[in-house]
Symmetry: C2
Subunit: 311 residues, 2 copies
């Protein structure tokens, strides 16, 4: 069984441009799906975050960044196919770019925004990583700036920390390392393919995080689910507890619940994506994948992806 | 530039066996090359480790593990092609396997042992990961047991922590997270392919770590190199400082130095692998790869690999 490598990865080789006054680099960040969470706020943004569990996916964000010297700091960010101002990325990059530089960033997202795929975190982190490569800063600088921007705009609390860990992850202590502590849930070799489906309209994370009742119920249910997951840290239990969380907090719409219950009949593990009107399901083979896709295609657009770099 | 995915990875799908009394799982760990290091000992093994920097490589270790109920704890480990008793793996697994279970582990190593590729850590960690999957334990349990065994036998101090981070890494604070703090050095897209060459006979890590003078000089040179790398955390600087370390500590043999100097003439970044009689070089394109291979093939066996899962 050991003879052939079960994973392969390689990178496209891109040469740096010849002109030394103009530098560019690329960054990638996986996407991140949250199964359940409990918000946690502190004055220090690096200690702010969430308890909870989630999974990193190969569908993520790609950034292409150019930096030039300029009279004053100037930050231009364009997210392909997204009209809104990319204020999270701009805020994060402001903390990285010196005053005499101009940065031009293009970000491409593999998944829609405000549907729980962590695209705000992934887009911002990918741009920060590319900038840090050029400016000879560290990975932790990119991580900190992306997390601080996410917390500032309430677009996410645990996505950047989850992305840091990779794979299926549990956030044991909120925040960014070294303050936050993140552990991985080990997955079996057939637990790496996920089917994703966007079912309803966009769900703004900040609208939920701004509602005290919703926050209260997330804290209660999220902490309980994390306790149960720590006692039995398996992928199946992660899905089971995520569904428990979706029901207990009342965040799942009628349609979301209906779709998940249909998937449970196949049976495959499935739950709601927090915070989005979306569903994710675990498929172990082609047959399951086909059946899940058949069920979900009547609800919305369906995509398959792999778990990103989990052990 | 964003249209096509620069990285791909997927896993082979392996189904669990039908018989529920018999469980098996697979584990993988990348290998790890240390560029420079400063040993650091504490009574607590989880706080013991090293300051330093290194890089994770796609050539690693694969484990296939079966667990059955038994009258008493029994641990059988077989490392393919290695005759010596795999005492590091056995020690690590003893901390994971309950008394009424028998474990049978087969480990395959992609690289030779005692040559600085972190094969002791990778082999042990891959087996621990596979066992943790079956016993529903967490990634951090695997990490802790593998690190403790490595420290116990002095086969490595920073490999497990380095593997945890992935990519090019800097160990800012020794030990395993959450005690140890590891940061990543961001690499450019063309800084992912490495050429490795084993030049001399095996170098037992514990022989160097058991020599007080050698330890003293590693501490002095290692801490200085880390300070310089933190000031400019780039891949090129990592190679430069690694070579400085190899020279200052006197660990590089005449032959190793000669090979590295020849590589610097190409020019490509290259240094000695700690602790092995081996050399690693960074190649950015086919032409450089061919020239590096041509130079090194007169010294020993040459392999190419990619950086493992670095951002």
């Amino acid at each position: 069984m050991c003879e052939e490598a079960p994973w392969y990865f390689w990178r496209r080789v891109i040469r740096m441009p010849e002109n030394p006054s103009f530098k560019d680099a690329h960054g990638f960040s996986p996407g991140h799906i949250t199964g359940f969470f409990a918000p946690f706020y502190r004055t220090d943004v690096l200690r702010t975050g969430s308890y909870g569990a989630g999974v990193c996916i190969a569908k993520g964000a790609w950034a292409e960044v150019e930096i030039e010297e300029a009279d004053q700091r100037q930050i231009c960010v364009k997210i392909e196919g997204v009209d809104a101002e990319p204020k999270v990325s701009i805020y994060a990059l402001q903390n990285l770019i010196p005053e005499n530089m101009r940065v031009n960033a293009r970000i491409k997202l593999d998944m829609p925004v405000s549907q729980g795929f962590g695209m705000s975190a992934a887009g911002t982190l990918s741009a920060c990583i590319a900038v840090c490569k050029i400016l000879k800063k560290r990975y932790s600088d990119a991580l900190r700036c992306a997390h601080a921007a996410e917390v500032h705009f309430r677009t996410g609390l645990g996505d950047v920390a989850g992305i840091y860990a990779g794979g299926y992850e549990m956030r044991i202590k909120p925040g960014i390392p070294p303050y936050g502590i993140i552990d991985r849930i080990l997955n079996l070799p057939d637990e790496t393919e996920l089917v994703l489906c966007v079912i309803g309209k966009e769900l703004e994370t900040k609208n939920v995080l701004g509602n005290p009742d919703a926050v209260e119920s997330c804290i209660k249910a999220g902490k309980k689910c994390l306790r149960k997951l720590r006692a039995e840290p398996t992928v199946r239990n992660f899905f089971k507890l995520s569904f428990e969380f979706a029901i207990e907090t009342g965040l799942a719409s009628r349609e979301i619940k209906e779709a998940i219950i249909e998937l449970h009949k196949i049976p495959v593990p499935a739950s709601m994506i927090m915070l989005g009107n979306s569903v994710f399901a675990l498929v172990r083979n082609r047959n399951e994948k086909k059946r899940v896709k058949d069920v979900l295609s009547s609800y919305g657009s369906v995509t398959a992806t792999h778990v990103w770099a989990g052990f």
